[in-house]
């Protein structure tokens, strides 16, 4: 059943209509450069390939097949029309170095997207170059460094990061050569301001945070945080992963942030592709504009062109060979055009409505909220700790059992500071019916945990495989297929 494509391979077989015709004279690559062994690629027919990968695809949960309330990931509907428009052959066939004079329609889209995203974020400059959130973070922190160094300030060696932050935040800071200083969170999910005050100083290059935070709540004293950091000479980085919650409601630029990234593959509905691609444009206030990474598009006399290193002598440089994940940029552009200004505002409103409704229902059903006194943003956390203590069934068991009920699991065990947590993000594209069904499933699972706990502990039962042994995967590393004979 779960044969690999290599198990289906037979030496000498090929998909005949995929073989290019060879010219008679075959050039002159010296024989000593040729490879000696045939690479281990499958030798299968076209139909075998189609069948194998079609069958594999059926083993995935996805937005097109399942409710997918994976917190912090904004798994919303990815409009099919957007995918189709972005897949027009003119866009797909355009070489990255095709002349600007032959590319105006494409450059226009990219330019307009830059303008739109500045509006959405309240920022003054933007580069669409970063290829995902974490590269956006890297670029943002690198700009913070460039800014300080340009002022001759080489002392700032630390980036502050709240303990609730996503793992990419500290990792990105380190990639930029900074030390990371963790700031604790208070009991209601806001940053511990006293701890923050104690931490800032001349070594503070900046702080990275997301608001609403990954705890699913809005940082109420954000203006004070901003004041503290700025007074210490640091800058504020905004992790835009949660922008969906506040689209059209609050702008990071207005909250006092100096630099931020957006996750187009979250907020702007570009499909996540089983792991990517995404795009993580980085937007900045006036101070950081000179440092934006290349390339960017500018408009001069109705003509669009790429900005060059000569145009931007202080740019931190390039992040990729070409212009980043332009196909994703195009999708975000199209999505924005479809939603329009009203539609974008509704995203914030309805993702928040859905999260608060789901939270209220789960509370009614007796589940334990991590922050019961707070509004949910577009996501919220419940903790399975009470159930674990009473029934010895943990958050992961609940998560796995949800799969059997046809729901993708919420994010589990993140953020790290809430024990046995499920971070639940329904997004605005789910209907009330779907949310109600999800609540019903969680209630049923809790009942199962009471009456037949092993059923839950051994879940899932209806997936292509039962619960997998992660420890074995890491201990007996098997990272590629090898012939049995």
């Amino acid at each position: 059943m779960s044969q690999t494509i290599f198990d289906k391979s037979t030496a000498g077989r090929h998909a005949g209509s995929q073989l290019p015709k060879l010219s008679e004279v075959q050039g002159d690559i010296p024989a000593n450069l040729h490879r000696k062994t045939k690479p281990l690629l499958p030798e299968v027919s076209e139909m075998q390939t189609v069948r194998h990968y079609t069958q594999l695809s059926k083993k995935n949960f996805s937005i097109d097949t399942h409710f997918y309330p994976l917190g912090s990931c904004t798994m919303k509907y990815n409009p099919r029309g957007v995918h189709k428009a972005a897949s027009m052959s003119e866009f797909l066939q355009r070489h990255p170095y095709q002349l600007e004079s032959s590319s105006q329609g494409f450059l226009e889209c990219i330019y307009e997207l830059q303008e739109y995203l500045k509006d959405v974020t309240g920022m003054k400059g933007i580069s669409l170059a970063p290829m995902a959130g974490s590269q956006g973070e890297f670029a943002g922190v690198a700009m913070i460094r460039a800014y300080h160094e340009a002022r001759g300030d080489f002392e700032r060696s630390e980036i502050l990061v709240p303990d609730a932050a996503h793992g990419t935040n500290p990792a990105s800071a380190v990639m930029c050569g900074y030390k990371v200083h963790e700031i604790p969170t208070g009991p209601e999910g806001d940053i511990d301001l006293e701890a923050l005050k104690a931490a800032v100083g001349p070594k503070t290059a900046g702080i990275m945070l997301t608001n609403p935070s990954t705890l699913g709540v809005f940082e109420r004293r954000i203006q004070e945080v901003s004041r503290i950091i700025h007074q210490a000479g640091g800058l504020l980085y905004y992790d835009g992963a949660n922008l969906n919650a506040i689209l059209g409601e609050v702008k990071p630029g207005d909250m006092g942030f100096d630099v931020m990234h957006l996750n187009l593959h979250k907020t702007f509905a570009t499909p996540h592709g089983g792991g990517g691609p995404g795009a993580g444009p980085v937007a900045v206030g006036e101070r950081l504009k000179p440092y934006l990474p290349l390339p960017m598009v500018t408009k001069e006399d109705n003509h669009y062109r790429w900005l060059t290193p000569e145009d931007c002598p202080n740019s931190i440089g390039r992040l990729s060979a070409f212009a980043g994940n332009t196909g994703i940029l195009l999708r975000a552009y199209i999505y924005i055009r479809m939603l329009g200004r009203k539609g974008l505002k509704r995203v914030g409103e309805f993702s928040t409505l859905n999260a608060n409704y789901l939270m209220a229902k789960l509370k009614q059903a007796g589940f334990t909220l991590a922050y019961p006194k707070r509004r949910a943003s577009h996501e919220f956390i419940i903790t399975i700790n009470p159930e674990k203590k009473k029934l010895n069934v943990n958050a992961m068991d609940f998560a796995k059992r949800l799969l059997d009920y046809g729901f993708h699991a919420p994010t589990t065990y993140f953020p790290l500071l809430v024990p046995e947590c499920l971070l639940i993000e329904p997004t605005e594209t789910e209907s009330k019916n779907e949310l109600d069904a999800f609540v019903d499933a969680l209630i049923k699972i809790r009942k199962e945990a009471e009456t037949d706990p092993d059923l839950v502990r051994n879940a899932p039962h209806t997936m292509p495989v039962k619960r997998l042994d992660d420890v074995k995967a890491a201990r007996e590393l098997n990272l590629r297929w090898k012939s049995k004979d």
């Binding site: 594999l56 329609g105 089983g274 039962k466 074995k472």
Partner: protein
Amino acid sequence: MPFIPHTKKDIEEMLQTIGASSIEQLFDEIPKDLRSGELKEIPEGLNEQQMMRLLKERALQVSDDLNFIGAGAYEHFIPAAVWDITSRGEFLTAYTPYQAEASQGTLQLIYEFQSMMTSLTGMDVSNASLYDGASALAEAVLMAVRANSKAKARKILIPMTVHPAYRMTVKTTVHNQKIECIEIPYDPKSGVTLLETLQKYNGQDIAGLVIPYPNFFGQFEAVDALTDWAHAEGALAIAVVNPMALAILKEPGVWGERGVDIVCGEAQPLGIPLASGGPYAGFMCCRQEWVRQMPGRIVGETTDKDGKIGYALTLQAREQHIRRSKATSNICTNQGLLVTAATIYMSLLGPEGLARVAQQCHTNTKHLVDQLTQISGVEKVFSGSYFHESVIRLPKAPSEILEALALCSIQGGYDLSKDYPELGNALLVCATETKSETDISLYACALEQVLHANKKKVSELKTVTVSEN
């Protein structure tokens, strides 16, 4: 409301359950003075029909020319099956496979991708992708510095025959960590890095040597000698390769005495459309001993409770979501969908198909260069053989000529004069397997006309059927 399913009744019932009087109220924790006004730059929404017409108009302003540009992004034929399957909702709209049991499709596919890539490169281990070729090289440099046992070695040698944008990307990425990138000049005759040039770094604290293959000019570096030099110097050898070329060329795993340590590159040639430069997929492979230094996701085979084979993300302790500030990289979202396409592409082509594509690209480019250099004033710049790109010198500024060629619906190549002013009016040209004899003649003919404004007209040639390739 596009994509929002709520009816009035739904909204009322939901607010009632929450105990709020309006959606507005749900935002009451946000300080009033922060609430923003209308979005100003964003136009009114369009329905799908309006949007499709708008985008078609934009597409019409992107010309659909015969393309002879390479320079790191290559036009190959992509079988219809590749994207038909890749675009299935289950691949397209899934997240990173954190819930392994509900993601076996993606996980097994990545395992197969890793298997194919390790074999193509001759390495032991592959990851599940990085962003693109350039950022993969940057990660390889960081990895080499981490892996290198000489604790203080923070110098990396990068030949100037590495793609200029890759070099810029590496610099942007690594200089914050105080790693020094030293650029190595090339031999102006052969367009490759000479061993002699490296000798002056003998005995220095070199962490790694980058070896491009084929190099940016399409030429073949002396990979065995370079690899052995690196190892002799206690440096890691990092190959940055075109995976398509490896279908016929010696894999980095057997370069020199011991083979290279890390192989990275751009998977775009494997079934990924040009698409203005992205999304593509960077790849990275390495020897077993470096696996714990690898950035990015890795999938391993394991078993389930019943002992049945299954697949899961593994060695996650290297990654940011577990290890945070001590991770091997900050990468999280990668280029999974492109890996899907590349895997299906390699499966469809197989070893024979891939070798034929590589071979025919070489043959076509050779044919193109032969034809172009017959035009008076056009000459080859480097001696020695090349893969599927080559540098020619023109009698005028390439930028001018390229604009003129575009009027004949030809994108004629990559202008090298900015990155390599020392080469003069140099142009990098490429003819992949997608180009027919007629296409190549069309280019030659157009160039002749642009340079010398005579001979047969391009329009005549155009009527010849183009399906003969």
